[in-house]
Amino acid sequence: MEHFDLSLVNWSRAQFALTAMYHWVFVPLTLGLAFIIAFMETLYYKTKNEEWKRITKFWMTLFGVNFAIGVATGIILEFEFGTNWSNYSWFVGDIFGAPLAIEGIMAFFMESTFIAVMFFGWNKVSKKFHLISTWLVAIGANLSALWILVANAWMQHPAGMYFNPETARNEMNNFWDVLFSPVAINKFLHTVSSGYVLSAIFVIGVSAWFILKGRHLLLAKRSIIIASVFGLVTSLFLVLTGDGSAYQVAQKQPMKLAAMEGLYEGSEGAPLVVVGALTPGKEYNDSRNPFVFRVQIPRLLSFLGYRSGEAFVPGVKNLVEGGYIYTNKEGKEQLALSLEQKMERGKIAIQALADYKAASDAKDTTAMAYHKNLLDSNFEYFGYGYLNNPKSIIPNIPLTFYSFHIMVGLGFLFILFFAVLLYLALRKEFKIKKWLLRISILMIPLAYIASQAGWIVAEVGRQPWVIQDILPSVAAVSRIDSGAVQVTFFLFLIIFTTLLIAELKIMFKQIKLGPKEGGK
């Protein structure tokens, strides 16, 4: 294998992870808080109660702070595509171009236009138009997220395209297959609903602080009720979409599922690990017990992954060695290839691309047709041709496993939290114990941890793939100096940390100031 600068690949990955994670600090609050504000303003519109207007405007200010600091942080990811991941950028062709162009237009026209009405339009446009604008900001922000998540879902499960060996680009042949791929639908719903849950917790946490301080009690109580209802409904929905996402992972990314569950040896009627500690340094082919301890529910992993308690769930070892029966994309049962066989077919595909190119340059149409046919029949394993040992196909299992369990554990904790708060808030006398109010504040960082953990599962769990089975990160990266990537990594670290500090500082200041125009 020609030398791969692994330090370049790793720094490029680290830089992308850093920018994506910082970007995701700002996004989920925008997605959910926009809807919470829209609900609050709807109550103002319906009841004409000025207190609802004050409440709406207060949360709108915090929304504005978060939106302003976070806006355009995602653009840096696009810069990185062009510089650090130029092979990948070219290879994905118009698959990314179309959704990202739609996202740009939507973000610009919907969010930018109506966000101005939302902030500047009080007393200048009719109440109805203002309310519609607020709803359109919420819908626009979420639609923007849709297109980004569709692009990401395509990387997890490429669909609706064919590879053109003449241009070395994947070309979209069915937009609807890209948009309505089951992975895309589940990813979108699961991701945005996680943002709703985070936002509900944010509203509750800030409101709890007000109650502890004995300030703005009416605002705090009403906000807790609205956010608890919103949070409870969306966190239950989050369980459903999480189940849908995990089901898709089982079908399309079995190695990720094995990493999520620390499943080294597959079995029929596989159990789901509820909590556990992995054995440090465990290799996929040694005979050590993968867990120091674990609590598990029998057959649940088989049921959740394949909708049958008896189904076979392949583990890491099975996925490397092959030889088990699985259902392929066409719904037919098939014997799984070993990694070695896949690598062999991947190398055939890559060689076919090189030979096709040579034939094309020589204008030898017969040879072109032959090599194209060879490429097409092996293209689903194209990326395996870049791999050279079994370990290269295994993601970081401890990071994926613990992130997954932290995310799921916190998700269920949030459901309980919303239910308890709503029960207490709806009693005749609104009374929430101080300790629960303090816990409510503590829930805010936990919501961010759960949200980031979700992305770690999605992205670390699918390594080594940038595009599942077709392009690994080693082939996607540009040939540039890894020192340059290190410099920009630390540059971003400084810029984003400064932005985060700025956001927190302004946000805390606005929370301390509280709502304008009085408040009870």
Binding site: I76, G346, K357
Partner: protein, 71 residues
């Protein structure tokens, strides 16, 4: 009133009456300046656009990259 003037005044008065928004806009402008005038120009060129004149050259380069990386 001219609709364009109306829109202009809407934004003008909106920006004028901002309080916390002013510091936020300052942050946004500084951020956009750093991103587009510094990072994009000096650190993040689009390599394929910069190094090649045509899509055909870009394709050839990427094919060469993809087919030699596996060897």
């Amino acid at each position: 009133m001219n609709p364009l003037k109306k829109v202009f005044l809407f934004y003008y008065e909106g920006f004028k009456s901002m309080t916390v928004g002013k510091s936020l806009w300052l942050i946004i402008l500084i951020k956009l300046f750093i991103m587009f005038a510094i990072l994009k120009i000096f650190f993040f060129p689009n390599l394929l656009k910069r190094n090649f004149d045509s899509d055909s050259d870009r394709s050839n380069y990427v094919i060469e990259q993809l087919t030699t990386k596996s060897k």
